[in-house]
C-alpha cells in the first residue's frame, strides 16, 4: 500500500506470473535459416504505412530500401534478403486485417551480404541528423509496440530530457530476447547509448534490469565504458514493470501524469534491444533487416532465441523449429499482452518479440465465467489503481461515459493484470479494449448528431 506517496524501487500493485524463462535464457542467439519466400507487410509499425518504392520483378539487395516512410510518424522498410520482388499484393497481418505487402524471393546462392549505407558519425552529427538516421534505418521500438523510435526521442524545445532510461526489464513471462541481447550485444548497446545521448541531450542514463537477469546486469557493468554516465539499476521482478510508466515510477519514483508523456517528467525511455540495434546499424547507415525473437512455449521442439529476418513467414518459422502435433494457440509477443495468431500465413515483423506456441493440454484457462464476486483481487493487481471490478460491471451496462469520466478508463493501458487474477474468469481487459473503442467512436460521432 502506498500511504505516503513514496515509491521504493517499485510501482503500486502488479502481479507475479510464473516466469518460465529458464528454458531459453541460457541459449545463445542463433541465426535463422533463409526461407524460400519473404512477405513484408508495409504496415508493421504504429503510424502511417510505408510507401512501396519497388516494382514487381525488380531485383533488390539485402538492406535496400523497398518502402519509404510516408510521413513523420512512419518508418521505411528495407529488404531482408537479396532477391527478386515477385508480387506486391494484399497480405494478412497479425491484427487480422489485410495490408499491402511485398513478396520477395531470395536468390538461392546469394551470400546475403548486406548493402552498406552512409555511416553516421557519432561526434559530428547534430541531434536532428541522428534522429533522421534512426528514422531512415527503419527503427521502431522492438519491445513489441513498434512505435517509431525517432518520434519518441524528439525532445520538444520546451522540455528537457534529464534521464534516459533503457528498458531491459522484459517483464513478460517466457520472453528472453532482451536478456540475450544484453549478454551478447553489450558493445552495441553502449554505442547505441552514445547516439541516444547525442540525440536527446540526456545527461544521465539508467539501464533498468529485473533481478531475474542479474547476469546481464553484471555483464553490462563489467564492460561499461568509463566515460559514460550510466547507472545500472536492478529492480525486483514484477509485472508489468516493463511498461513505460511503471518503469519510470520504479526507477525514479516519478509519476507520469495521466494522459501525459514520459517527457513531462523529464524522461525518455528506449527498449534495450532497440538501443543495441541503433548501435549496430547507425555506424554503417544500414536499415533494419532482422531481429532477435524468442521462440518458446510447451509445444515448441527447438526452443531458443533466434535472429530472424523480418518478413519470414510464420509457417516457415514453425516448420523449422518443430511443433507438437496438437498445437492449439500461437501468440506473437508475450503471454500477457501478446496477440493470438489466427492465421499462420502472416510473417515476422519488426514488433515481434516472441513467438509462443501452446498445445491444447497446456492451456489452463477455464471457459466458465462466474459473476464478479467483488473479491478485490483485480483492484489489488491494477498498477494504475483503477477499479476493474466496477469498470467491468459498467462495461456490461455500456456506461462508457461513466467509465471514462468517473472511473478513469482511459488510464488503463491493457496490461491484463486484472484478467490474470480474476477468479471469476471475467475477460476484463477485453471489455476495456472494446469500451475504449466504443467510447472513442461515440464521442467522435457526438458533435455530428447534435448538428443534425
Amino acid at each position: 500500500m502506498d500511504l505516503f506517496g513514496s515509491y521504493r524501487n517499485t510501482f503500486r500493485n502488479g502481479i507475479h506470473p510464473p516466469e518460465n524463462k529458464d528454458t531459453t535464457n541460457g541459449l545463445p542467439i542463433r541465426q535463422f535459416p533463409f526461407a524460400k519466400e519473404y512477405i513484408i507487410p508495409v504496415s508493421q509499425h504504429l503510424g502511417a504505412p510505408a510507401q512501396v518504392v519497388v516494382r514487381e520483378g525488380q531485383e533488390v539487395a539485402r538492406g535496400q530500401l523497398i518502402a519509404k516512410a510516408a510521413s513523420y510518424v512512419s518508418v521505411p522498410i528495407h529488404s531482408p534478403v537479396s532477391g527478386i520482388v515477385r508480387k506486391i499484393a494484399m497480405v494478412p497481418t497479425l491484427s487480422g486485417s489485410m495490408s499491402e505487402g511485398i513478396h520477395i524471393e531470395p536468390f538461392p546462392y546469394s551470400g546475403q551480404e548486406v548493402a552498406e549505407g552512409k555511416p553516421i558519425p557519432l561526434d559530428t552529427s547534430t541531434p536532428e541528423e541522428i534522429l533522421q538516421a534512426i528514422q531512415d534505418c527503419g527503427i521502431v521500438g522492438l519491445g513489441g509496440a513498434a512505435f517509431p523510435t525517432h518520434v519518441k526521442l524528439k525532445v520538444p524545445p520546451d522540455k528537457k530530457c534529464e534521464y534516459l532510461i533503457l528498458n531491459g526489464i522484459e517483464c513478460e513471462p517466457y520472453l528472453t530476447t532482451d536478456h540475450r541481447v544484453m549478454l551478447e550485444q553489450g558493445e552495441d548497446i553502449y554505442t547505441g547509448i552514445r547516439y541516444l545521448m547525442n540525440a536527446t541531450g540526456a545527461p544521465k542514463i539508467i539501464i533498468a534490469i529485473e533481478a531475474n537477469k542479474q547476469d546481464a546486469a553484471d555483464h553490462l557493468t563489467r564492460i561499461k565504458p568509463t566515460d559514460l554516465p550510466v547507472e545500472i539499476k536492478v529492480v525486483p521482478v514484477k509485472y508489468p514493470q516493463g511498461s513505460e510508466k511503471m518503469l519510470i515510477t520504479a526507477v525514479l519514483g516519478r509519476e507520469v501524469p495521466s494522459g501525459g508523456l514520459p517527457l513531462d517528467v523529464g524522461v525518455v525511455t528506449v527498449n534495450i534491444a532497440t538501443t543495441a540495434e541503433i548501435g549496430r546499424l547507425l555506424p554503417h547507415g544500414r536499415g533494419i533487416q532482422e531481429r532477435v525473437i524468442t521462440i518458446t512455449g510447451p509445444a515448441i521442439k527447438k526452443k531458443g532465441n533466434y535472429l530472424i529476418p523480418i518478413g519470414t513467414p510464420l509457417r516457415f518459422v514453425l516448420d523449422h523449429v518443430g511443433i507438437a502435433e496438437d498445437i492449439a494457440e500461437v501468440y506473437m509477443g508475450g503471454p500477457m499482452m501478446g496477440v493470438a495468431v489466427s492465421n499462420l500465413d502472416i510473417s515476422v515483423t519488426k514488433g515481434t518479440s516472441g513467438i509462443l506456441v501452446f498445445g491444447s493440454k497446456d492451456i489452463r484457462r477455464s471457459e466458465t465465467v462466474y459473476p464478479c464476486i467483488r473479491c478485490g483481487a483485480c483492484v489489488d493487481a491494477c498498477p494504475v489503481s483503477l477499479n476493474p471490478s466496477k469498470l467491468g460491471i459498467l462495461a456490461k451496462f455500456e456506461a462508457y461515459d461513466k467509465m471514462v469520466e468517473d472511473f478513469n478508463l482511459m488510464d488503463c493501458f491493457e496490461c491484463g493484470s486484472c484478467s490474470y487474477v480474476c477468479p471469476s474468469h471475467i475477460p476484463l481487459v477485453q471489455y476495456f479494449r472494446l469500451s475504449k473503442a466504443r467510447y472513442k467512436r461515440h464521442t467522435a460521432l457526438k458533435p455530428k448528431s447534435q448538428d443534425a
Partner: protein, 339 residues
C-alpha cells in the same frame, strides 16, 4: 505440418488459475472443523439444523434458477456456504421447519432477488437469520446446554416440531455467555469461551476452530484477512477502553472478542466478498465500523448479541465506502474527482 485450427484467445493468455468455485469450496471446507465441533458439543440436533439449512439453501437456489430458466448455479458452492453459515448461527435445537424457511429466505430474498451471486447487497445468510429473529423471536433465543450426556441420541423435541403446532419452547434451558452477562452479570471462563465449551449457536462457539479455518483461507488468499483483523481489533480496543473506564459495568475485551458470534461473523460473514468493499483501505474502514457497531449494540443495545445487525448495517453502506474511498489513480493529482 499438420492441418490446424487455432484457438483465438484474447490476452492475457495465461491466468493465475484460482477460480471462484474453488474459493467457495474451500470456504465450505474451512467451516467444517467449527461445524463438526458444534456437533460434538451440542449433539445430533446441531447436525440436523446445519444439514437442513444447507440442503434447503442449495435446493432453493436450484429451483429458483430452474424457474427463470437459467442454468443452475449451485455448482459455484455459494448457496452451500450461505446455508451452512445460516445453520451455524442458529440455536442447536432450532426447529427444522423454521430452519428450512430461513434457508429459503436467505437465498430468495438475500440473494436471488438482487440478481444472484455477485449482486447481493447483504450477506444472504444474515438476511435469513434476521428474518428468523423477527419471525420466531422465542425459538431463536432458546439455547441448549453444551455437553448434555444424551446429546447424540436424544434430539430435543423442538427440532422435530411440526410447523405452527407444538410449543416451541419446551423446557430447553441454558444461556449463552453473552446473555448471561447481559441479563445476569455472570462472567464466563475465558478458557471455555476460547475453546467453545459454552452455550451458543450450532457452529459459532469454537473460536479456535473458526480462527484455524480463517487462517487457512487467508493463507490461501481466499479471504481478505484485513476484515477480521480490523473487526476484532476494533472490538478489542473499543471494549477494552470501556472495560478500563468501568470494569464492573463493562465486560473484559477478551470476553467481548471470544463470546457469541463475533468470531464466526468477523471471519466468515463480514468477509462475504460481494457485500464488502473492494479496496484495502475501504476494507479497514468497513471492519472498524462493524467492530464499533458490535460493541455499541452489545453494551448499550437491548440485545445481548449485535454481530448480525452490525454486519447487515455495514453491508448496506459498503458500496458507499467504495465510492468514497478510492485509491488515487496513477498519474492523477491527489484531489481526484470523487463524485
Amino acid at each position: 505440418m499438420p492441418k490446424l485450427t487455432l484457438n483465438i484467445s484474447t490476452s492475457p493468455h495465461v491466468v493465475k488459475g484460482l477460480s471462484t468455485d474453488t474459493i467457495m469450496k474451500h470456504v465450505v471446507l474451512a467451516l467444517m472443523p467449527a461445524a463438526a465441533f458444534g456437533v460434538y458439543v451440542f449433539g445430533t440436533g446441531a447436525l440436523l439444523v446445519m444439514l437442513t439449512s444447507t440442503v434447503f439453501a442449495v435446493a432453493t437456489e436450484h429451483l429458483l434458477n430452474r424457474w427463470i430458466r437459467k442454468n443452475t448455479t449451485v455448482n459455484d458452492y455459494s448457496a452451500a456456504i450461505t446455508g451452512l453459515l445460516l445453520g451455524m448461527c442458529l440455536p442447536p435445537a432450532f426447529p427444522l421447519w423454521m430452519t428450512a424457511i430461513g434457508s429459503a429466505i436467505s437465498i430468495a430474498l438475500g440473494k436471488f432477488i438482487f440478481g444472484g451471486l455477485g449482486c447481493n447487497v447483504f450477506n444472504p445468510a444474515l438476511v435469513g437469520r434476521a428474518f428468523l429473529q423477527a419471525a420466531f423471536p422465542g425459538a431463536i433465543t432458546t439455547w441448549t446446554d453444551p455437553f448434555k450426556a444424551d446429546r447424540f441420541f436424544n434430539v430435543p423435541s423442538s427440532v422435530f416440531a411440526w410447523p405452527f403446532m407444538s410449543p416451541v419452547v419446551d423446557g430447553v434451558s441454558g444461556a449463552t455467555p453473552l446473555s448471561a452477562f447481559k441479563f445476569d452479570h455472570v462472567n464466563s471462563q475465558s478458557y471455555d469461551l476460547v475453546m467453545g465449551f459454552c452455550g451458543g449457536s450450532a457452529g459459532e462457539t469454537s473460536a479456535v476452530f473458526l480462527l484455524l479455518g480463517g487462517i487457512y483461507l487467508a493463507w490461501r488468499k481466499m479471504l481478505n484477512w484485513r476484515i477480521p483483523v480490523s473487526v476484532l481489533l476494533t472490538v478489542l480496543v473499543f471494549s477494552g477502553t470501556m472495560h478500563f473506564l468501568d470494569a464492573t459495568r463493562y465486560p473484559s475485551p477478551v470476553f467481548m472478542v471470544f463470546a457469541g458470534g463475533l468470531m464466526l461473523g468477523a471471519i466468515f460473514m463480514a468477509t462475504d466478498m460481494v457485500a464488502s468493499p473492494v479496496t484495502s483501505t475501504g476494507v479497514w474502514v468497513y471492519g472498524a465500523i462493524i467492530g464499533i457497531l458490535v460493541v455499541l449494540i452489545r453494551l448499550w443495545g437491548g440485545l445481548p448479541e449485535g454481530v448480525m445487525y452490525a454486519i447487515l448495517l455495514t453491508n448496506a453502506i459498503s458500496p458507499h465506502i467504495d465510492n468514497l474511498i478510492r485509491p488515487r489513480v496513477y498519474g492523477t493529482l491527489k484531489k481526484a474527482k470523487a463524485s
